[in-house]
């Protein structure tokens, strides 16, 4: 039996806490010239949680997370919600493949997902008149991708240490 079925409360607490930390990273004050280096931690965590327990956390989870991120970031309501829903949809429909990939293969796959996320968010924002430059979009995709192996091994170790697998 998986951890999520044995201790659902503990598991969901872990998910919520990780997302709260990611939200803090999303709004932490950065100097304007380092803004582009901000990783899309919320998107990475949504990918991680959806791929690890797709039978419990799916598109509605991603949508709600995205809505909260929109509220927190003061962006257009629904921009992150839509982007994360699309990412979650791809994850739910192909989690078996993603799980079986090697870590570097997975990282390449994640870069495509984060890129898609950035594209959709930027598209929604530009409908309201806020268009970011291509460079800043690419930079955050690269930073987020580089963070994936670190995040993956960190969370894996954490869950193994506390027997939360």
């Amino acid at each position: 039996m998986m951890f999520v079925e044995k201790h659902p409360l503990l598991f969901y607490t872990m998910v919520v806490v990780s997302l709260l930390i990611a939200m803090l990273v999303a709004i932490a004050p950065f100097a304007p010239e380092y803004q582009v280096l901000r990783p899309e931690l919320v998107c990475l965590l949504v990918i991680y949680w959806v791929v690890s327990v797709p039978q419990h956390l799916g598109i509605s989870f991603a949508f709600l997370t995205g809505l909260v991120q929109d509220l927190v970031e003061q962006s257009i309501w629904g921009a992150h919600a839509l982007a994360l829903s699309i990412v979650a949809y791809i994850c739910v429909s192909s989690y078996q493949r993603i799980k079986s990939y090697s870590i570097w293969h997975q990282t390449a796959w994640v870069s495509v997902l984060v890129g898609l996320h950035q594209l959709v968010v930027n598209w929604m924002q530009s409908l309201a008149g806020y268009r970011s430059s291509t460079i800043s979009l690419l930079a955050s995709v690269i930073i987020s991708t580089l963070l994936w192996p670190v995040l993956l091994s960190g969370l894996r170790r954490l869950r193994q240490n506390y027997r939360m697998i």
């Binding site: 999303a26 304007p32 003061q74 924002q125 806020y130």
Partner: protein
């Protein structure tokens, strides 16, 4: 729906409050661990600044009295000083395109949507969303913001719009023959009834006149230190107060 929006602003502001904690701690430590010599130095600097400011006020009093008499001659209503509320900035919207900041004053302090926000140097923006204890301010440089201004020197009315750059405002529909030059101060004109009249907004930095085009291209630099100021002022208009 409205109260839901308000609630959500109050809850999400907590994130900004938490993310502001490190700088709060730094401020606290800065206040505690400051050397005597630096305090003395600061004290001297403040003293001389105070002297300069009081000298300016002396001149101001005479001007104000004169202005009052002239206004009485014109049968105009007297200009009373605006009531202000000091607020502290607790967060900045993370998207560099989105020029919004979150400040720690809300409905319980009497803040209302559309209220003008200033810093010590000029007009910063206006309140767009009000929560219980926090509110969101749209800065004048946001690409969705525009405000009516006038040239301080000759009173020509214009509209200054943001372009998404913290150091730049663009003036719309400036006729090629208009009397405007680099260094002119733009102040809020009070038209539209949103911003109080007479606060400095920007200084003209570039005037490009191309006879081939219908209008001159005029750029200005905001007077307010939009990415530096931590303490801001909320201005209350007299009729909307309360």
């Amino acid at each position: 729906m409205h109260s839901l929006k308000k609630k959500s602003l109050d809850i999400t502001s907590q994130f900004y409050w938490v993310s502001d904690l490190p700088s709060k701690a730094e401020q606290w430590a800065d206040n505690r661990l400051v050397s005597r010599s630096r305090l003395l130095q600061e004290n001297n600097a403040l003293r001389s600044e105070n002297l300069v400011l009081s000298q300016k006020i002396l001149k101001n009093a005479a001007l104000e009295a004169e202005n009052f008499r002239l206004r009485q001659l014109l049968n105009a209503s007297e200009a009373v000083e605006d009531r202000v509320l000091i607020a502290e900035l607790i967060g900045v919207a993370p998207d560099p395109q989105l020029h919004k900041v979150i400040i720690n004053r809300g409905e319980v302090h009497g803040v209302y949507a559309g209220q003008a926000v200033l810093d010590a140097f000029g007009l910063m923006g206006q309140v767009v969303e009000v929560g219980e204890r926090y509110c969101v301010v749209l800065l004048v440089t946001d690409s969705t913001h525009a405000l009516p201004v006038k040239v301080n020197r000759n009173g020509v009315r214009l509209v200054a719009e943001g372009v998404g750059n913290l150091y730049e405002l663009k003036l719309r529909h400036v006729a090629n023959t208009l009397d405007i030059g680099v260094g002119d101060l733009l102040v809020s004109s009070g038209l539209g009834g949103r911003f109080p009249a007479g606060y400095p907004v920007a200084e003209v930095t570039e005037v490009t006149i191309d006879q081939g085009r219908a209008f001159a291209e005029v750029k200005a630099r905001p007077m307010a230190k939009l990415n530096r100021s931590r303490h801001v002022l909320l201005v209350f208009e007299r009729e909307k107060e309360g």
